[in-house]
Assembly symmetry: C2
Homo-oligomer: 360 residues x 2
């Protein structure tokens, strides 16, 4: 099976084998990781090691905290404005796809949202250029989504927002490339793409953002309190944390993020070449400059043909190729654990399918 | 190892073995359960089956919805008042331990909280009797915690609150006894006690509670929306849902909740007898009538002796015996997956330890 799902999706086979191997006896403790109490020294050590690995892997400076929380990225859409803005404050959102739009709408419940890229708002086929961004002078922060999983657009630069805190939803491309953490006030990412199983959101936050301890918001959404409690205000998502740690180790073993990034480029290039060379059998809407290297939505001539494509692919062992239910069509997700071999095989199938159909 | 942790704690060995067995190939799908996409028909079927099993097991009427959410029970402490009360509304809380107190304090951020058992508020060694409860006439709901995990008090009756909706935190004793669901407007329980691994809260809610779609609260805390989306407003906690389903099946195989309840009584009786027969070597604070059958906190003469007890127990393979960090001392948790054999062995150790110490 080659799993091209947008998340939850493919995980490293080595990681899954390791999880299986010690499922009944975690680190020779005599118990399963699923039975490990979060107040035990053993769990504290696991948490510390997992954070440490990520810090090394992503070169995260010492003045940034790492949190592992529940609720996914969608919950962060509320958590962020509730923590960093008051009712009458202004905040900035760059909106160029489903998720950044969702985040902006959620924030508008709690404060005043300015759309920074109003000149090309609603064009979900691009990322706005730096020159298109108009940041409010009194803005409390600027939020954007680095990779729009559904619409398949990915930023090829980090927006310069001056002295405003920059907050980034990196759910679907976190761990896929080297980033300069210092440019960000906060980065967050749902776990079920490149990190591990569903049920967690990873947060990297600069410590000087954690000053406003707002007692009138839900405690479980209070980032100051969550940070003070080292992600353990209540029982944390232990199993996703554990699998994340194994994934981080696997990436180290592969040579680090640098190697991952090289593989990512090769895989994306192969797939886009296949689409570009299909004589319009497969097409995509995204402007080439902003094409995502993680999630590649594309279309065939009509819905019937797309259905056949997805079904025949499934028979051949390629799964997860349907587009998001909000937009339909097809989509290939190329997360870190997808091998080049899998991409080559999929591309071969795409060529065969199109050749056969054109001949029919 | 005998794991007496308060949660996460011991799970059924059969369940863990099954998880291990199909970790690389869930239901012969060719992928791991950790790689399963939540928008796939396969996951929808898993979710439906899991809900169905629980409905049968707990005899949940058709007009109740079942939800599997993130954030744990602590997040529900905010979710409940945000959904069911407005700023100036009154709500009732019965407070007789750490968790019910936490829930009441959290609710007081969002509405007016009346403590229903004011006459014995702060006595964390009892559950208030029905006659001690003074429910406000204009109350939007009454909240209580059926089993206080830290203080070890468990209700032996369901409060009669007239026509007010009754909401119950059953985190630590859910699935341990037969309950009449119809008496409740809503029941919720963190997953990491009797249900499965950490990272989920299970909610059973009467459909007529889901009328107030409040658009000004965080979407991920909006019970109407969560219910409309069948627990899938965003990616749900797939792995805990999967393990919960295996746990429900295991309980069926054991003969259902009725058999679990019988075992529970025997295990608790054995442990309390051991404490009661120790000539004051082990003591507990809870009033006998309200002793929890799930979590048994107890003390030894002094902290040094408690430390030795916990350490020696660990050497013998009994883990998780320390009390909650907020109160100290010792605690034994007797969740469903703990065998009678484990309880007998622990009790034998307790007798040996006390005999040896008394002789010394």
């Amino acid at each position: 099976m080659y799993n091209f799902s947008p998340g939850p999706g493919v995980l490293f086979h080595d990681v899954l084998e390791y999880v299986q191997m010690e499922m009944l006896n975690w680190k020779n403790s005599g118990i399963s990781i699923l039975e490990l109490n979060h107040r035990s020294p053993e769990f504290r050590s696991l948490l510390m090691n997992t954070k440490h690995k990520l810090r090394l892997l992503m070169n995260i400076p010492a003045d940034y905290e790492i949190l592992f929380l529940q609720g996914g990225a969608t919950q962060m859409f509320s958590t962020i404005p509730l923590n960093f803005a008051n009712k009458n404050d202004k905040v900035d959102y760059i909106v160029n796809g489903y998720w950044s739009n969702f985040a902006a709408k959620e924030a508008s419940k709690f404060c005043n949202v300015n759309i920074s890229n109003m000149s090309n708002f609603n064009d979900y086929t691009i990322c706005p250029d730096q020159k298109d961004l108009k940041i409010s002078s009194e803005s409390k922060y600027v939020h954007y989504c680095d990779n729009e999983t559904i619409h398949g657009c990915e930023f090829d630069y980090v927006p310069d927002v001056g002295d405003k805190p920059l907050i980034c939803d990196m759910s679907s491309n976190f761990l896929s490339k080297l980033i300069d953490i210092k440019k960000f006030a906060m980065i967050y990412a749902g776990s079920h793409k490149n990190i591990g199983p569903a049920g967690m959101v990873l947060v990297i936050i600069r410590r000087n953002m954690l000053t406003n301890n707002k007692n009138d918001i839900p405690t479980m959404l209070n980032l100051v309190k969550l940070c003070e409690a080292n992600s353990m205000l209540n029982t944390p998502p232990i199993f996703p944390i554990y699998v994340a740690g194994l994934t981080f180790k696997k990436i180290f073993d592969m040579g680090g993020i640098h190697e991952i990034e090289k593989m990512r480029d090769l895989k994306a290039q192969k797939l886009y070449n296949t689409i570009d060379n299909s004589n319009g059998f497969y097409t995509y809407r995204m402007q080439p400059q902003y094409r995502s290297k993680m999630n590649v939505p594309f279309q065939l001539k009509n819905e019937q043909l797309e259905h056949e494509f997805i079904e025949q692919a499934k028979v051949q062992g390629f799964i997860g190729l349907n587009g998001h239910h909000s937009v339909g069509h097809c989509r290939v997700s190329l997360y870190n654990a997808m091998t080049m071999d899998g991409v080559v095989k999929l591309c071969n199938f795409m060529v065969e399918f199109s050749t056969y159909r054109v001949l029919c």
